[in-house]
Amino acid sequence: MSEAAVDKPKVNYYNAKSGIMSWLTTTDHKRLGIMYLYSLGVFFAFAVFMAFLLRLELFTPEIDVLTFGGAQAGDLYNRILTLHGIVMVFLFIVPGLPAVFGNFCLPIMIGAEDVFFPRINLLSWYCYVLGGLFAIFSIALGGPDTGWTFYVPYSTTTGHNVYVPVLAAFIVGWSSILTGLNFVTTVHRLRNKNMSWFKMPLFVWSLYATGWVQIIATPVIGILLLLVMMEKVFGIPVFDPRIGGDPVLFEHIFWIYSHPAVYIMILPAMGVVSEIIATFSRKTIFGYHFIAYSSIAIAAIGSLVWAHHMFTSGMANEARVIFSFLTFFVAVPSAVKVFNWIATMYKGSIRLSPPMVYTMMFILIFSIGGFTGLHLGALSVDIHLHDTAFVVAHFHYVMFGSAGIIFFAAMHYWFPKMSGKLYNEVVAHIAGVLFFIGFNATYFPLFIAGYLGMPRRYASYLPEYEFYHKFSTIGSWVMIFSMLLMFGNLIYAARKGKKSSDNPWGGATLEWHTSSPPPTLNFDKLPDDIPGSYDYPLEVVK
């Protein structure tokens, strides 16, 4: 081989074409994954900044930070809180893993060249960005102040603009449905002929289950929006009790979507956990079939528990008992997974690289988040804890400490594959540990404050909660610093990092059998005999 040929970087998906238009019109699933990563990063940073302001306001019992612009006491807090919630939920954590890593990895993992509908894939990115712009645009109109749940009758009577952000959620919903449809179809139609259902990586299984939830549940939120419009515009009574509607119906329909949405957030994360644990324990995943089926079980049972968000809404007692009872069942498949992951690590040859460390933090945080979910699911206890800071702590433990940290783990796991570079592992470790400390310092005190009666969504509070809030705010600074360190490390590595080999972690799934970064059509040559997703050679790969 001549010297020139060695020096020239290999043609891959990233350098195959250049120019902004080559990105804006691309149908390559890998490039779309990268585009989602960047756009998600922007929205996430924005929402973290909002959260920083919220925590700053809560540093003291009085309202003294968010008072600029002549706003009424607490009004600005409500609006920032709502934006934080909307952006984090609809623009970060719901699309999160499927849009970025699902897009990047799913076709490669099943030995395909792209998703089944590449153009629709591009369309869903545009829907996502358009929805995001609507959400940002709503700030210009003053920003909504309803909380991310838009409950009626407040949302239909408040003076603040609510329709634009609701519309934003609606448009992002389209993106979600199209992505789900694409993934389900891809898994059915484009699996390599040697990739049977039960050879598929568990991340693919979880994306498949998520895809179904996206297709089935997301339209419900669209229907909800249309109903609100019908009431507003045509006066058809749906939610307004003055004309014969029922406000609780809004909560039913809202949670019929939004509860499954929490499984849209957590299921792909669970899939990533299975990949990372197997790779870094160098062991076949324990209970493959159980993990695969438990994803489906979570998706199915998770659709039946929505009204546990509504125990204090004035629902009939019978319904409260039934939904509380059903809620406990979700814990079963979730626990199946946790036990299987731990059993996989047992006697494995564990390597504590950053993705693995993040994942082990996930297991701990997710267990706390899951168990406190059982407290909230128990009817009698929830009557006490509903709408307190306990709930805020609980959902940050599951959404942020679980799904969010796995997003970070996935970034560190697939970074060498996506960029072809290696990052500084020491910095990644430090950032991870700081994150863990900061995270728990931010949210654990809220469990206690909430239990003692601190309500959620308040800008001011009684002096007896001051200690918990101060602690929490200082924790949030540590956490935000750790994230800056983490992203800084990756951004630096993407530019200046050392070159990565094709398989730096010794993973067994198909994406590790192609070059880093992969060529445009994913494989120069597909391995003739597709290995099992968790078949590890006995010797440790360097």
Partner: protein, 97 residues
């Protein structure tokens, strides 16, 4: 594939469709006339029953589910059952309030 499929393809005659249409018209007539009779609790039930039969006719014959691959029927049933579960669970609230 298309050849084998074409052989199985079911083509219904115009007359058949007209009969289904007449049946639908008759059922509509029933709904309207029954609404003048006060059957108390059963009013809603009757209306829903007739509507279900009508929807069934449309789906089975006009939408060809009756003659298509069974998998489409299965998918349809899954959706219907899911919908039923949602309604039943929601009515665990409304029926007792």
């Amino acid at each position: 594939m298309s050849g084998a499929h074409a052989e199985e393809e079911h083509i219904s005659s115009y007359g058949f469709y007209v009969k289904i249409w007449l049946a639908l018209l008759f059922l509509t007539f029933m709904t309207v006339s029954v609404s003048y009779v006060d059957m108390k609790k059963f009013t809603l039930f009757t209306a829903m029953l007739v509507a279900t039969v009508k929807a069934g006719l449309v789906v089975l014959f006009f939408m060809h589910i009756r003659f298509d691959k069974p998998i489409f029927g299965v998918m349809l049933m899954v959706t219907l059952i899911e919908y039923l579960i949602f309604i039943v669970l929601t009515f665990s609230d409304y029926a007792y309030r």
